[in-house]
C-alpha cells in the first residue's frame, strides 16, 4: 500500500533524505520509500509514482515521506523514518550528541582558527555562503556546482583582493599539506605542487606520482571554468604563485583542458617566472614543444612521468632526456595480441569526468570518432538520451543528467554498474572500458556489486562476452586498498591496467576496425 506522510517544519539535506530512503528499502516489507522536500517538482514526481498528495499549499518547510509497504506497518515505518532522520543509524554515538552548529558564524565561534570553508550545499545557496566565508577572511573550497559565472567571477575577485583563494565551483578534489579535501587518495607528500582545473585529473596525476614514489605537498583545485576568458584564471594563477612561494616545492604542475589563449599565456608566464621547473598538462591539446623550465604533457600519466624526470635530473634537464622518458612510458603500455581483438563497439562507462575525457582522447586516433555526453568535440555529442549509445561511445556518469536525485557515481556506482551489465549482454559490443576511483569520498566497496554480477552471469575472460578493461585510480593506503580491488577485478576476469591512459589505449586497440559491423548511426 502506498501512503504519504507529511512532516511539517523540518529541514534535512537531500543526501540525508536519500540515505534514509535507502536504509528503509533494506527492510523486507518496504517496496518503495521516498523522502522529498515538498517542492512542486517533487510533488509531481511523487504523484506520478502513485502517492496521493492532498491538494493545497505545501511549503518547503514540509517533508513528504512516501512509503510503499503493508498497511499495518505504515505508522511504524513512518516513525522509523522520523527516528532515523533525527538520529541516523549510520552515525557514531558520540556524533549524535556533540553540538553541530547550524550556520557559518556558529561554526566560527566554535572553531575560530578555521582557515577554509568546504562548501557543498546546493548551488543556488552556495555563492552567498562562500561570500560570507571570504568576508570573514577564510579560504573557500566550493564543491557545489550550478553556481553562476557572474557569482564565480565576483567570488574570485573578492578572494584575490584579500589574498585568499576560491577553489571551485565544481571543485571535487584538493590536497593541502598532504591532507585530502573532497575526493582524494592517500598519497605521500613531497616536493610537487599542483594546480588543477579537474578533480579526477588531479587524483590520477597524484596516484601516478605515488606509483613512482613521488609525493605532492599541495594540489589546489580551481573548478573547470577558471581558465575560461571570463574568469581569466584568477584562482589558477594565484594558486601557482602561492605554490611558487613555498620553499618545499621544486616542481609546479598545471592540469586542465586547454585554456583560453590569454589565460594560457598567463599560466605559462607564471610558471616560467617561478624559479621552479614546471609541467603544463593541457589534456587533449595538440603537442607543444617543451620550453624549459616548462615542459608539456597531454596525458595524465605522461605528466607524472615528466615530473619524475624533472625531479630526478633537475630543472636544467635537456629536452631529449625528457622526450626519451615519454617514449619509454608509451612504449611500456601493453598492446593486445591480434587474436584478442574483438568485433564490436568500444563502450566506456566512467565515474570520473576527466578520465572519460582522456580515454576518448586516447581512443580516437585508433578507433575513429567516439560519441559521448561529454565529448572531445561538440559534433560528437550523443543525441537524445545519453543512455542509448551508438557506435563507439563513452559516457561520464558524473554529468548532471545522471546525478539528479542520485548520489555521484564515485560515491554510489550502482547506476554505472547496471548500465555496464546491460552492455555486457549487447551483441554489438566488443569491449567495455571503465574506471574505478578509490580514496576518501568514494564508495567503500566500489566493485563488489559488479564482481558479484559478473560471477552470476558466468563471465569469463576470452569468452564470447565483451572484453572488460579497467584502470584503478587508487593507492595501497586508500581505505579501499588498491591491491584488494585489483585482485577482486582480476579474479572476475577483468583486465586491470595501472593507468587510465594505458587502459584506454589497450581497449581501443582491442576494438580497432570492427570487421563486418557497419556503424548504423553516423
Amino acid at each position: 500500500m502506498k501512503n504519504m506522510h507529511i512532516v511539517k517544519g523540518v529541514y534535512y539535506d537531500s543526501v540525508t533524505l536519500m540515505l534514509v530512503a535507502r536504509e528503509l528499502k533494506q527492510i523486507e516489507d518496504v517496496r518503495e520509500a521516498t523522502l522529498n522536500i515538498a517542492t512542486p517538482a517533487n510533488i509531481a514526481i511523487m504523484r506520478q509514482a502513485g502517492f496521493e498528495i492532498p491538494e493545497g499549499a505545501h511549503s518547503p518547510d514540509d517533508l513528504l515521506v512516501g512509503l510503499d509497504c503493508p498497511a499495518e506497518r505504515q505508522q511504524e515505518l513512518f516513525q522509523t523514518a522520523r527516528t532515523w532522520l533525527a538520529s541516523p543509524p549510520w552515525k557514531k554515538e558520540s556524533e549524535k550528541t556533540t553540538y553541530q552548529p547550524k550556520s557559518l558564524d556558529g561554526a566560527l565561534s566554535i572553531l575560530p582558527e578555521a582557515n577554509l570553508a568546504l562548501v557543498s550545499i546546493a548551488g543556488r545557496y552556495a555563492a552567498a555562503e562562500a561570500t560570507k566565508a571570504l568576508e570573514r577572511g577564510r579560504n573557500v573550497m566550493l564543491y557545489s556546482d550550478n553556481v553562476s559565472l557572474e557569482d564565480e567571477i565576483r567570488l574570485k575577485q573578492l578572494a584575490h583582493s584579500r589574498g585568499l583563494i576560491v577553489m571551485g565551483p565544481d571543485c571535487g578534489t584538493a590536497v593541502i599539506n598532504g591532507k585530502g579535501l573532497g575526493f582524494s587518495n592517500a598519497c605521500p607528500t613531497g616536493p610537487v605542487g599542483i594546480v588543477s582545473a579537474s578533480g579526477t585529473g588531479l587524483q590520477e596525476v597524484m596516484v601516478q606520482l605515488a606509483r613512482r614514489g613521488i609525493g605532492v605537498k599541495h594540489g589546489l583545485g580551481t573548478g573547470g571554468r577558471d581558465v575560461k576568458t571570463e574568469v581569466g584564471g584568477i584562482s589558477f594563477v594565484d594558486g601557482l604563485n602561492a605554490l611558487a612561494r613555498d620553499p618545499d616545492i621544486q616542481v609546479l604542475v598545471a592540469i586542465g583542458k586547454p585554456p583560453a589563449a590569454e589565460v594560457r599565456a598567463r599560466i605559462l608566464a607564471t610558471m616560467e617566472q617561478s624559479g621552479k621547473a614546471g609541467v603544463a598538462c593541457f589534456m587533449g591539446d595538440r603537442n607543444h614543444p617543451d620550453a624549459p623550465p616548462v615542459f608539456f604533457a597531454t596525458q595524465l600519466e605522461e605528466c607524472a612521468q615528466v615530473v619524475s624526470v624533472l625531479l630526478e635530473k633537475g630543472k636544467q634537464v635537456d629536452k631529449a632526456t625528457v622526450k626519451q622518458a615519454r617514449q619509454a612510458l608509451f612504449g611500456s603500455y601493453p598492446v593486445p595480441p591480434p587474436h584478442e581483438r574483438k568485433d564490436g563497439y568500444l563502450k566506456g562507462l566512467f565515474t570520473g569526468g576527466t578520465l572519460c575525457y582522456e580515454a576518448q582522447f586516447m581512443a580516437q586516433p585508433i578507433v575513429g570518432p567516439v560519441w559521448s555526453n561529454a565529448p572531445l568535440h561538440s559534433e560528437q555529442k550523443v543525441q537524445g538520451n545519453s543512455l542509448s549509445m551508438t557506435g563507439h561511445c563513452m559516457v561520464d556518469y558524473g554529468e548532471d543528467e545522471f546525478t539528479q536525485g542520485r548520489l555521484h557515481p564515485m560515491i554510489d556506482p550502482s547506476l554505472r554498474t547496471e548500465r555496464l551489465l546491460e552492455q555486457l549482454k549487447d551483441p554489438m559490443v566488443g569491449v567495455i572500458l571503465f574506471d574505478v576511483v578509490l580514496g576518501y569520498g568514494s564508495a567503500a566497496q566500489p566493485v563488489d556489486e559488479l564482481v558479484a554480477a559478473l560471477q552470476q552471469a558466468g563471465y569469463r575472460e576470452g569468452s564470447s562476452f565483451p572484453t572488460l578493461v579497467c584502470s584503478i585510480c587508487g593507492t595501497e593506503e586508500d581505505p579501499q586498498v588498491l591491491s584488494a580491488q585489483r585482485t577482486k577485478l582480476k579474479q572476475a576476469g577483468v583486465k586491470v591496467f595501472e593507468s587510465n591512459a594505458a587502459a584506454a589505449l589497450f581497449a581501443a586497440l582491442l576494438a580497432q576496425s570492427p570487421q563486418g559491423k557497419e556503424e548504423k548511426n553516423g
Binding site: K8, V10, Y11, S59, T98, P101, K102, S103
Partner: protein
C-alpha cells in the same frame, strides 16, 4: 559598528536594564489599562470568534459564565457569536496569558512594575493542572475554582504581597528567575524551583498579613488553603514570570532600526511576532502543529495548534533557550541532557547577545542566548524553539503533551519584508 548592530545593541541593553518586580494584585477591570466592561483578553495576536480553536473557545465560554454574562454554555456560545464580547490580545493591554490566556474584567491579576522605567504589566493567577480554564475547560468545577481564586486566593495573596512590598519594595522577580535557572528550572515548562522560591519568600509576610486584617477572607484556614494551592501547583510562578518577561521586553519600546524580536505569541490558530524597530505591528502566520511527546491515550490527531503567550519566555532569553539549565526536563519531553544543551547552543546562533543576569552553570555560566535577531533567523533558517505544553483541540480536554516546538518561518519572513521596506532607503 553598523547601524543595525548599534540599534540592536541599544535594544539589547534596554532589555538588560529592566527590573521587573511584583508590587501588588488587583482586579483586571480596576488595574488593566483599556479593560472594558464587555471585554475579554486572550493570548496571541488578534483573532475573531469564528477562527478561534477549541481551547480558546472553551476558555471564552468559561469566562462568559464566570462573569455571569450568560447562565449556560449554550447561552454563552450565543452571546459570543452575537458579537457581544469585545476580544483583544493581552499584549495590547500590557498583559500576557498562558495557553488560552483569557482575562475577564472580574479576574484577579498580578501587578508588576519595572523599577527602571516605572511601567507596569499584568497576568492572571495560575489555576493549576488538569481541567482548567486556560486549557478550555468550562464545567462547574472550573468555575468554582475561579470563584474561589477571586474570593479567597486573591485577597489573601494580595495582603501578603502588599505587606512584603511595604517592607521590602517590590518582589524582585529577575533575581528569582536567575536563581531558579541555577536550580534546574527553565521558566517555561519547568517552574518548580521558581515557584518554591516565591512561596518561601512570601510565606512570613503572608502569615504576618493576617494580623489586624480587615479582609474577611484573611483567616488561618484560608491561608492554609492558599499555601496548599500554591504549593500544589508547580507552574504557579509561570504567570508572574511571563509578566516579568513582558514588562522587560515592553520596556525596550520602539528602537529605530532594530531587528530585535520583542514579542512572540500564539492564539491557537495564528503565530505572531513583533519587532523593536517596527513598533507594535503584528506579523502572523498559521501556528505550529506541536510534534511532541504525548501523554498516554492521546494521538497526534488530538493536538491543538500551538497556543499561548508563554512564548514571551523564549523572547526574554529563558524557556527553550535555557534548556541547558534544565536537564531533568528531558524525561518529560524526550531526548538526552545533551539534546537539551544543543537546543540552547543552537539559539545562540540567532540571538544578539548573551544575557547578563541569566547564566547557565553547565556552560561555565555563559549567559543565556538573548534578543532574537530577526535578520539572523531569516539568514540562517533557524527559527526559535519553545519548550511548551500542547493542548487538546477540543475545549476542556486539557493538556495532551509537552515538548519542543519549532516556531514557523512565515511570520519571520513577513517581518523581514516589512523591515526592508521600512529601512531600505
Amino acid at each position: 559598528m553598523t547601524q543595525l548592530k548599534q540599534a540592536n545593541q541599544q535594544a539589547f541593553d534596554k532589555l538588560q536594564q529592566a527590573r521587573p518586580a511584583v508590587v501588588g494584585l488587583g482586579l483586571a477591570s480596576d488595574v488593566v489599562p483599556g479593560m472594558e466592561k464587555n471585554m475579554l483578553l486572550h493570548a496571541g495576536p488578534p483573532i475573531e470568534w469564528q477562527r478561534m480553536s477549541g481551547p480558546l473557545v472553551g476558555a471564552v465560554l468559561g469566562a462568559i459564565l464566570y462573569e455571569g454574562w450568560a447562565q449556560t454554555p449554550d447561552e454563552a456560545r450565543a452571546f459570543a457569536a452575537a458579537g457581544k464580547v469585545r476580544f483583544d490580545p493581552c499584549h495590547h493591554h500590557q498583559a500576557v496569558g498562558p495557553m488560552a490566556g483569557v482575562v475577564s474584567p472580574s479576574m484577579p491579576v498580578w501587578i508588576l512594575e519595572d523599577e527602571n522605567t516605572g511601567k507596569k504589566s499584568f497576568a492572571t493567577l495560575n489555576e493549576g493542572l488538569g481541567k482548567v480554564l486556560r486549557m478550555g475547560a468550562f464545567d462547574p468545577e472550573v468555575l468554582q475554582r475561579l470563584h474561589w481564586m477571586k474570593d479567597v486566593l486573591y485577597p489573601v495573596l494580595r495582603g501578603g504581597v502588599e505587606n512584603y512590598a511595604r517592607q521590602n519594595g517590590g518582589l524582585n522577580l529577575k533575581n528569582m528567575v536567575a536563581q531558579a535557572l541555577h536550580m534546574g528550572d527553565e521558566l517555561h515548562n519547568r517552574n518548580k524551583a521558581a515557584t518554591s522560591l516565591m512561596i518561601r519568600t512570601l510565606a512570613p509576610f503572608l502569615v504576618e498579613s493576617l494580623e489586624g486584617s480587615n479582609e474577611p477572607a484573611a483567616t488561618l484556614t484560608n491561608l492554609a488553603k492558599v499555601f496548599a494551592f500554591m504549593g500544589g501547583n508547580d507552574h504557579f510562578f509561570l504567570n508572574p514570570g511571563m509578566a516579568a518577561a513582558k514588562l522587560s521586553l515592553q520596556g525596550i519600546g520602539h528602537v529605530e532600526g532594530s531587528s530585535l524580536v520583542s514579542v512572540m505569541a500564539r492564539n491557537g490558530t495564528d503565530f505572531g511576532i513583533q519587532v523593536a524597530g517596527l513598533g507594535n505591528r503584528w506579523f502572523t502566520c498559521p501556528a505550529a502543529q506541536p510534534d511532541v511527546l504525548l501523554f498516554p491515550g492521546f494521538t497526534p490527531e488530538d493536538v491543538n495548534p500551538d497556543i499561548g503567550d508563554s512564548a514571551i519566555m523564549e523572547t526574554y532569553g529563558v524557556g527553550g533557550f535555557a534548556l541547558a539549565c534544565a536537564p531533568a526536563i528531558v524525561q518529560f519531553v524526550g531526548g538526552t541532557p545533551q539534546d537539551a544543551t544543543n537546543y540552547t547552543l543552537e539559539m545562540y546562533e540567532i540571538c544578539i547577545g548573551e544575557n547578563q543576569h541569566f547564566t547557565i552553570p553547565s556552560l561555565d555560566f555563559r549567559g543565556t542566548p538573548t534578543g532574537i535577531d530577526l535578520v539572523k533567523v531569516v539568514q540562517t533558517g533557524i527559527t526559535p524553539v519553545l519548550d511548551t505544553g500542547a493542548a487538546h483541540k477540543e475545549p476542556g480536554k486539557g493538556q495532551v503533551g509537552a515538548g519542543i516546538v519549532r516556531m514557523p518561518s512565515e511570520a519571520f519572513v513577513k517581518a523581514a519584508e516589512a523591515f526592508v521596506e521600512e529601512y531600505e532607503a
